[in-house]
Amino acid sequence: MSDKKTAISVQNISKTFEGRKVLDNVTLDIYKGEIFVIMGGSGSGKSTLLRIMTGGIQPVFGKVFFDEKDLNALRANEAEKVKRRFGMSFQSAALLDFLTVEENVSLPLREHTNLDSKIISIIAKMKLGLVGLQGFENFYPSMLSGGMKKRVGVARAIAMDPEVVFYDEPTAGLDPVVCHVIDKLILDLTKRLKLTSVVVTHNMESIFRIADRVGMLYKGNLLEVGTPDEIKHSKNKIIQQFIHGHLEGPIQLT
């Protein structure tokens, strides 16, 4: 792994919300070009970790480095330039209801570039083509199914040709076939566009389908990082209970 370049370096991140410790001293490196999956149960802190990596939330302690720059030490215009190199796909797709599909996908292009509107339209159609939604440009989000909204969200996330794309529960609430479609999309985009992908999920089938490496979060602690095979054969009882979905074990629902 020593010849791999680091895309994002998370160092000693801790975060507290209203007295509750959500993340406790989390350290991990994400390499360029890989699909890194952060897995964990509900309330394990994985969405919070994702938002700290994108700069959306400030940690109480610790640093996040992107391209050797400390994200929280940047000035507003530098932070904005870094954000343009990220793309994020939200659990609920988070499309703007009052814009059409094409307007949603082209929003970052219209706001951040001086490209002609015809060229922006062509780029937006291309991105929609990559996610298999060509022809839906003039639809509004309310007319789309959950899976289609997610795919438009992904098209918007890659509109500015980012270097890193973050996915927050990309397959939540979707049927098994559509889950597979989304997983294949993440794999295709990462390899074809040479991105780095950070995926937060607890869908075990997705994890073993797409992950290059997996990190398991449990109650804010990073238990282990490894390849899917290494995680599958982990000696950690918490990880084993989580992977197999057993009722008995150290993970107890409170």
Partner: protein, 264 residues
């Protein structure tokens, strides 16, 4: 002891809200005055569509509210003036009251209930659906993209609606004066405008600009603060309307004091 705790928490809440509103006000001012010179232009198509929604589509309700207020004011004042043999002064009483106070304030209250609630509901729904966060991660300022167009639209439209409201209120008084009190139409109109000064008009309209900023800022602030799903949106909308109402009345009181109780 609880009364001290509750009072302390309430004051702390108001202070935080005041600081939040001030911060939002400065941020909006930045995007309006400085942003365009830093290659961050205002979303003008959105300003125009908001002007239609806020201004054009509010005309009817503003017209009728202030019209009937003019009618009621004339009806209430006529008996007293009749006793003094000065019933035709209903015309100037209604006109001056509407132009100075009732036109701007009632128009603002109607608009706060309609538009202020709509602003909070729209932005609040976007907040609970992660759309505000999506704008943030795309490095698009939600204040520049969403709040500023609404604020500018209301800033231009509320004074226009106030003018329409003033005309409606004067018309209401005219209808009672001419058709009920049997005042000669020409005499009514002459008396209506005889005592109306330019100060009455500009004080009323300048209040409209201030009220517009209050409605837009409070609506946007509550929207951006919304938490807790649909219930949260409902709660934020209610707080937004009530807060707007209170601040409009307070601002009206302060401005009236400045204009008519000092040397301005």
């Amino acid at each position: 002891m609880k009364i001290f705790e509750n009072t302390g928490m309430a004051v702390k809440g108001w202070f935080c809200a005041f600081m939040g509103l001030t911060r939002l006000c400065f941020e909006a001012a930045y995007w309006i005055l400085i942003g365009p010179f830093r290659k961050k232009p205002i979303n003008m198509p959105s300003v125009f569509s908001q002007m239609v929604f806020m201004g054009v589509q509010s005309i009817i309700i503003v017209f009728f509210v202030v019209l009937f207020t003019g009618v009621v004011l004339a009806m209430q004042s006529a008996p007293q003036l009749e006793q003094m043999g000065a019933v035709f002064y209903v015309a100037s009483l209604v006109t001056i009251s509407i132009c100075r106070e009732l036109g701007p304030v009632l128009t603002a209250l109607v608009v706060a209930g309609r538009i202020g609630a709509a602003i909070t509901a729209e932005i609040g729904s976007m907040k609970v659906n992660e759309q505000i966060e999506a704008l943030d991660t795309m490095a698009i300022s939600p204040v520049r993209y969403l709040v500023v167009p609404k604020m500018l639209a209301l800033f231009f439209m509320l004074p226009c609606l106030t003018v329409i409201g003033d005309a409606a209120g004067i018309l209401g008084g005219y209808l009672i004066g001419v058709f009920n009190l049997k005042i000669n139409a020409g005499l009514y109109l002459q008396t209506a405008f005889k005592f109306l000064t330019i100060k009455d008009i500009y004080t009323g309209l300048s209040k409209a600009f201030v009220f517009a900023i209050i409605i837009a800022l409070v609506g946007a602030y509550q929207g951006l603060k919304t938490e807790g799903g649909a219930v949260g949106v409902g709660r934020a909308t209610t707080i937004s309307v009530v807060t707007s109402f209170v601040l409009i009345i307070i601002a009206d009181c302060i401005l009236t004091g400045i204009y008519f109780f000092s040397d301005m």
